[in-house]
Symmetry: C2
Subunit: 503 residues, 2 copies
């Protein structure tokens, strides 16, 4: 089955990819997805890298209950507004046989005294524990992360982008000072940036959200905003400095070094299976998935071309020194915050009932970075054909040459994908001074424009163009002899901000 091309229909193409590459599918439960083995293997690779990054920055994992007592949600009024209005509510704890003998019904007598909410997010239940654990400045900072499933009722669901149940990590860190809590939020957005560049192979624009678009309660929200191939920006990960709201709502105070009582400060951040959307929408081509080798479940496919069982055996024994080495090969992907030593994974496509063409197509669709094809007739010349999916190049080489170069080839592909994503973003990034030009360019990419800092201007632009301010970047995206005035109000601007459409 062919995949809808990017030119035809982006949305249909995404669905085709997710389905045909067997990443995930809708389940029989409205809005909940089944993550299939191939998709889950990618998510496990994402998990493992991020988890190492978090541990390398001194965080620890813990696990808190799936359920939140309804009363907890009322402790922080905004919290109900933002998360808890649309949620899954457990009201009963028992089924009984129906009176007509046909199936089971909820037992009305088994009603919970207090309803339980399936966690849409965990800060309320986590801060309930923090209150028990924190009493002195010596208990701080407390840097805990949770990997878990969360549930939100979503009206229009989309696999990986927006589903009723999804998997994610959420950090909630408690600090003695505001400076330290904000520094934590800044450090962790840099961890997400590092992960994006070095593992996802995407080059997001990074830094703070404008005040009107911060997360509820946040005093600062930081974001990573990579460009997808339809020129939209994805809010792929955020971190927040949140001040004392939860410290006050849950009455978590500590004795500082001067022996005075203070409320604890909070930072928080998270990423989710939405990163799978990021991966698919940033890289894929018209032939299928494109995965950075650092996250690809399979690095190498070997396709022997043979007619008889004897031919196959001959090819396999010819390759034995190579395959023995493959089993012992580790590849190290390094970045600022992680050093991932991954076992090289490879598959021998020796199925006798499938044609070589079918095998090639399957591996191209699901993205296996490297493929070796070997013909019986070439054994004497000691040659194999090595195909690089990222460039569609085929090269003849000896087994020894391949064996020596394979790690470098994979690392090069990793870099190439990052470079491609970065170039794509740069090619579709515009510096705009007039609103007319803005309206034209915003359909084709990221736009850096001057902004007067008011929510009113931002709202006007959003109403008229559907574009929003994605972030106020930490780099200087300015032009020579730049005029520092808003493109609409002509009021002074402090810097160019990133406008884009998003999901």
């Amino acid at each position: 089955m062919a995949i809808t091309t990017r030119a035809e229909d982006y949305s249909a193409r995404y669905n085709d990819l997710v389905q045909q590459a067997e990443l995930a599918e809708n389940s029989s439960v409205r809005g909940c997805m089944v993550i299939r083995p191939y998709g889950y293997a990618i998510w496990e690779n994402i998990h493992d890298v991020l988890d190492q990054m978090f541990k390398n920055t001194w965080h620890q994992n813990a696990y808190f209950p799936l359920f939140i007592p309804k009363s907890f949600l009322c402790k922080e009024a905004d919290h109900v507004e933002h998360f808890a209005k649309e949620c899954a509510i457990v009201t009963h704890y028992r089924l009984k046989n129906s009176e007509n003998g046909n199936g089971v019904v909820v037992d009305p007598e088994a009603k919970l005294e207090e309803e339980l909410i399936v966690r849409p997010t965990s800060e309320t239940i986590i801060w309930d524990s923090y209150k028990k654990w924190i009493s002195s400045y010596r208990d701080l900072p407390l840097l805990l992360n949770q990997w878990a499933n969360v549930v939100r009722r979503e009206m229009r669901t989309r696999i990986f982008l927006r589903s009723a149940e999804f998997l994610r990590q959420e950090w909630h860190t408690a600090h003695a000072t505001a400076e330290e809590a904000n520094a934590e939020a800044m450090k962790m957005i840099d961890v997400y940036r590092d992960f994006s560049e070095s593992f996802l192979a995407t080059a997001p624009v990074v830094w703070r959200k404008p005040a009107h678009d911060r997360f509820a309660w946040a005093l600062e929200t930081y974001t990573i905003e990579p460009m997808m191939q339809d020129f939209k920006s994805l809010q792929a990960g955020t971190s927040h400095f949140l001040g004392q709201n939860f410290g006050k709502a849950f009455d978590v105070q500590f004795t500082n070094e001067q022996n005075e009582l203070e409320y604890v400060r909070w930072s928080s951040w998270g990423v989710s299976t939405r990163l799978m959307w990021n991966l698919i929408m940033a890289h894929s081509d018209d032939q299928g998935l494109v995965l950075p080798p650092a996250l690809a479940p399979i690095h190498l496919a070997i396709v022997p071309i043979f007619k008889t069982a004897e031919d196959l055996e001959e090819i396999k024994s010819f390759l034995k020194p190579l395959t023995d080495k493959l089993d012992q090969t580790y590849i190290t992907f390094s970045s600022k915050y992680a050093e991932m030593r991954k076992k090289l994974t490879w598959k021998m496509d020796d199925d006798t009932q499938k044609s070589p063409g079918w095998k090639f197509h399957e591996r191209e669709l699901k993205w296996v970075p490297l493929r070796i094809t070997i013909w019986k007739r070439d054994l004497e010349a000691w040659k194999i054909e090595v195909f690089t999916r990222a460039t569609w190049e085929k090269v003849q080489m000896t087994v020894e040459e391949f064996s020596t170069n394979m790690e470098k080839m994979l690392l090069d592909i990793q870099l190439l994908l990052l470079q491609k994503n970065k170039s794509f973003r740069e090619e579709h990034t515009y510096y705009v001074d007039s609103y007319d030009e803005f309206k034209e360019k915003i359909e084709k990419g990221f736009v850096f424009a001057h902004w007067d800092g008011t929510a009113e201007t931002a709202e006007k632009i959003q109403e008229e163009t559907k574009a929003t301010i994605r972030c106020i970047p930490n780099e200087w995206f300015v032009k020579q002899n730049d005029k520092w005035v808003d493109m609409i109000s002509w009021k002074p601007s402090e810097c160019r901000v990133l406008f884009a459409k998003s999901y």
Copy 2:
């Protein structure tokens, strides 16, 4: 705070350990636990080993929805009886502000058309997908595992042993033939045995449950039954060969090689955070936790004894060659199904506000296998004191000697703990021929006795002694000149079976 000793009160001792070693605690949600960072780090180590074992035996992970539509539970009548009667039921999807302005209430208008059950176990939702994925023998076997949280309403909860929410893995494998499905169940109980012996350092008695005590629908249930220090047996993990029940209930048929339609066969198995109970109850001593080094979050603590900041710096610079090496040290724990290369983890206990005695006690309570104590005055002699928590031995050695031997020391401790558990079980195992002797010995350990194979005899024994048949072992636990007759009915017996009390 002292821990209640084993002689005083087992139950109180367990609670003390879990609390004082900061493994877990009860949450504000009835029956749900908070797994604290130190406890979760142990669970992560358990997860990582098992996950590697599953992948090494060709299984893949996937993720299925948290919620099960109520109608799914009715497809398999027994299923409702066993799991779904006591469960968490989601009936509504929205909260609204209460009319008196005080908090939020469930919006009666937001009632789900069909109630959702928070998964007590996942076979029904997984087989709903299997039906879509399986049509031919070429789609089989399908070997999928899920790591996830599950929820069961438990009346009397106990942290790690029996909690409303717990973490676990569950495998549900689909096979073409009964032989293959049963072979899978047998292989995977061997994986659990291997994990128990090589990583948990416990020596369970292994093999099949008697027919009257099989898991619902199972044609065979296999179990691992380690002895805890109170002589009870823990059902620590089970695997099941389940025939065609779910294939039929969910109408999952496949075309076999002869092009005929058949129902798919099923095997299933799982372990959970209950393994934490196993770990704690099998090994701990009166001073605290005892953890096998393969699962211990911290392998080595270094306690410098110093008065001034200069002393501390001097000690640290003396140790620098060692600590540099520690950062590069990996220890490999090997077994039949896994080879875990673990980074050595160590901590420098250089806190100036805590006494050496406090530090020693903390590390003894939480179990750090090795501890180095170093005095400023011993620097010239190049000596350090190495303390082994498992044996309470202190030995003077040079840094070089320690550096050379530390991996072996940790591997030796791992073996020692297994040997201790095995000897303990053997010392408290009895071969009994009369029911009078049985009643006496069953209070003090495992009893191997002949049994006539009937549920009636097993029930009589359970009523009178509270002991059950834990398993029919795969080894020959018989005596010389053994009489092959049941100790009560004097009817013929096929072998000695394991009787014990359990939780």
